[in-house]
């Protein structure tokens, strides 16, 4: 067990150490001491951004604000996205009416709408959440719809044969069949929601500062340790979200081929194959 864990954690750890070495090398050998703010060494970033209680609380408050916006936006995007995908799966005419607009959402530059949202909803949570919803909803609609359609045609015939109604078919066949695709969409959207929260905030420039605003402000003040700290927190948050949804997907779609054998497992899984 320990050997396996080591085999799994070892290689990324090696890459981490190498990355740190390169970072130090850059900080001390490549960057002129006079312009050291361009690339502060890792320990300085940790000391200033995470070691100082005042700085840390500034960063964590911003992280909390951005995280809240991202999560609220994601929940709304999931509800609306899954809901509209279900509607579209039930009747072709609904799909024909709605899908082009879903695609349009994906193609219009949402950031161009940010000032407009500012006018309409102030620079409050509402407009930030709206940005996240608009960015995160399309992958959910597209993947859920694809998943709902992916149910085995034979299984559909079986349901027809036994006179299953629309609702039964949806709940017992289409939705479970859609779960793997839905989770794929969720993972994409979760990442997008974090980006949406931070980038939206970056452009708002007003209201309570989230990570995006801090990332905008720090370089202007040459607070590069803080800038690195904010970037690291943003990245860590994105990773955490990705990991959570990966775990959820494994939990709920363990029957799917994609979860039968993990590519990371050094040995074939010990599942009984009879």
């Amino acid at each position: 067990m320990r050997g396996r864990r080591l085999a799994r954690a070892g290689p990324p750890a090696v890459v981490f150490v190498i990355a740190m070495l390169v970072w130090y090398l850059g900080s001390y050998a490549l960057v002129d001491p006079q312009t050291s703010f361009l690339l502060p060494p890792p320990h300085a970033v940790v000391r200033v951004a995470f070691g100082d209680p005042y700085n840390l609380s500034e960063l964590l408050q911003a992280l909390w604000l951005s995280a809240r916006v991202a999560m609220i936006g994601l929940v709304i995007a999931v509800a609306l996205g899954v809901g509209s995908a279900i509607l579209m799966s039930q009747a072709r005419w609904v799909e024909r009416s709605l899908y082009p607009y879903a695609v349009a959402l994906q193609t219009i530059p949402i950031l161009a709408l940010v000032p407009l949202f500012g006018y309409w909803f102030d620079y409050s949570t509402t407009s930030r959440v709206l940005v996240v919803v608009l960015i995160a909803i399309f992958p959910i609609i597209a993947n859920t719809l694809f998943g709902l359609r992916s149910a085995d045609p034979g299984a559909h015939e079986l349901f027809t044969l036994h006179r299953a109604g629309r609702w039964t078919r949806l709940v017992k066949l289409q939705l479970p069949a859609a779960l793997p695709a839905l989770f794929t969409g969720l993972r994409i959207s979760a990442g997008a929601s974090v980006i949406g929260a931070i980038v939206g905030d970056f452009f708002f420039q007003r209201g309570q500062p989230g990570l995006g605003q801090l990332i905008f402000i720090y370089p202007k003040r040459l607070q590069s340790e803080m800038l690195f700290g904010a970037v690291i927190l943003a990245a860590a948050f994105g990773l955490a979200v990705f990991w959570v949804f990966g775990a959820l997907a494994r939990r709920f779609t363990d029957w799917h081929e994609s979860e039968q054998q993990r590519p990371t497992a050094p040995f074939p899984s010990t599942r009984a194959v009879t």
Binding site: D152, P153, G154, A155, E157, L158, F159, T160, L161, H162, R163, A164, T168, K172, L173, P176, A177, L179, T253, W255, H256, E257, Q260, R271, A272, V273, T274
Partner: protein, 290 residues
């Protein structure tokens, strides 16, 4: 035969034309009585799957009439069509669940059906952990659990290897001998049809018609050795000859093209989609699989 058992399924001059004009079946008539095991053999794309779907009521005929006695149908598909997220037992329960049966009754029936196909010990596993042959038996158990009046088999053993196929055939025969249900069994294999059934319907190329009805006189239960008995091989040879006589004049130059067309036609039939337009004068030469 002093008294005739109830007809469970009767087709009267049934024809089916798809919306795109492809005539899949034409003038098909036969009666399937209670306790009868009838096989349907025919070339690829001759409308065998269509015939089963008509019998099940999944399709409505464009000509003629389909009559059925009893509502409970056990349909066994070409693929196991199991829901991968459900355990084996819950898969078997599915049809009872769709029919609105109570939980206790469902479980009792599912466990019983799994026991009959010899899979009681894998009831808690997911289908993904089973071999193809075992999945097919789960699918069989699922059909059994409805206690059907009529079984419809759509080439159920097509996807498994020869040895498993023979096993499954024997298992099916055991179930038939015990329950004496009415079954319509579509297959590519003439030998399998002869071994399992009391009567074999031989179908023509598209549009599918019944070319002949061949009775297999051997009584049930039949031993596995019967597959290779001279009477069986003689019957199989007769059926193959009927199928071969229906083959178009061999046109060597167009052999490859014809095969491709036959494959296309077969796929179209399987998918229940609008088949590719077949020129009415020139029929696709279908290969006879024996």
């Amino acid at each position: 035969m002093n008294e005739q058992p109830t007809p469970m399924l009767s087709l009267d001059d049934v024809g089916l034309r798809y919306p795109n004009g492809t005539q899949a079946l034409d003038g098909v008539s036969f009666t399937l009585r209670d306790g009868e095991f009838v096989s349907v053999v025919g070339p690829s794309g001759c409308g065998k799957s269509t015939l089963l779907r008509l019998a099940a009521g999944l399709l409505a005929p464009t000509d003629g009439a389909v009559g059925r006695d009893g509502d409970r149908i056990g349909f066994v598909f070409q693929d196991p069509t199991l829901l991968p997220w459900r355990s084996v037992r819950r898969n078997v329960e599915l049809v009872a669940e769709l029919s609105g049966l109570g939980r206790v009754e469902r479980i009792t029936r599912a466990v019983e059906a799994l026991r009959r196909v010899g899979l009681a010990d894998v009831a808690g596993q997911r289908p993904g952990t089973l071999s193809v042959g075992m999945r097919m038996r789960v699918s069989l158990a699922r059909a059994l659990s409805v206690r059907p009046d009529l079984y419809l088999f759509d080439e159920p053993f097509g996807a498994v290897d020869e040895i498993t196929r023979a096993d499954l055939g024997e298992q099916l025969q055991t179930l038939f001998v015990a329950d004496r249900f009415a079954a319509l069994f579509v297959t590519h294999s003439v030998a399998e049809a002869v071994y399992l059934s009391g009567r074999v319907l031989v179908m023509s190329r598209r549009p599918g018609r019944i070319l002949a009805e061949v009775t297999v006189p051997a009584p049930y239960p039949r031993s596995p050795e019967m597959r290779f008995a001279p009477e069986s091989t003689e019957l199989a040879a007769r059926i193959s000859a009927i199928l071969a006589a229906d083959r178009p004049e061999p046109d060597r130059s167009g052999e490859f093209r014809q095969t491709a067309e036959a494959v296309e036609a077969d796929e179209a039939d399987d998918a229940m989609e609008e088949a590719p337009p077949v020129p009415p004068v020139q029929q696709p030469g279908a290969e006879v699989t024996t």
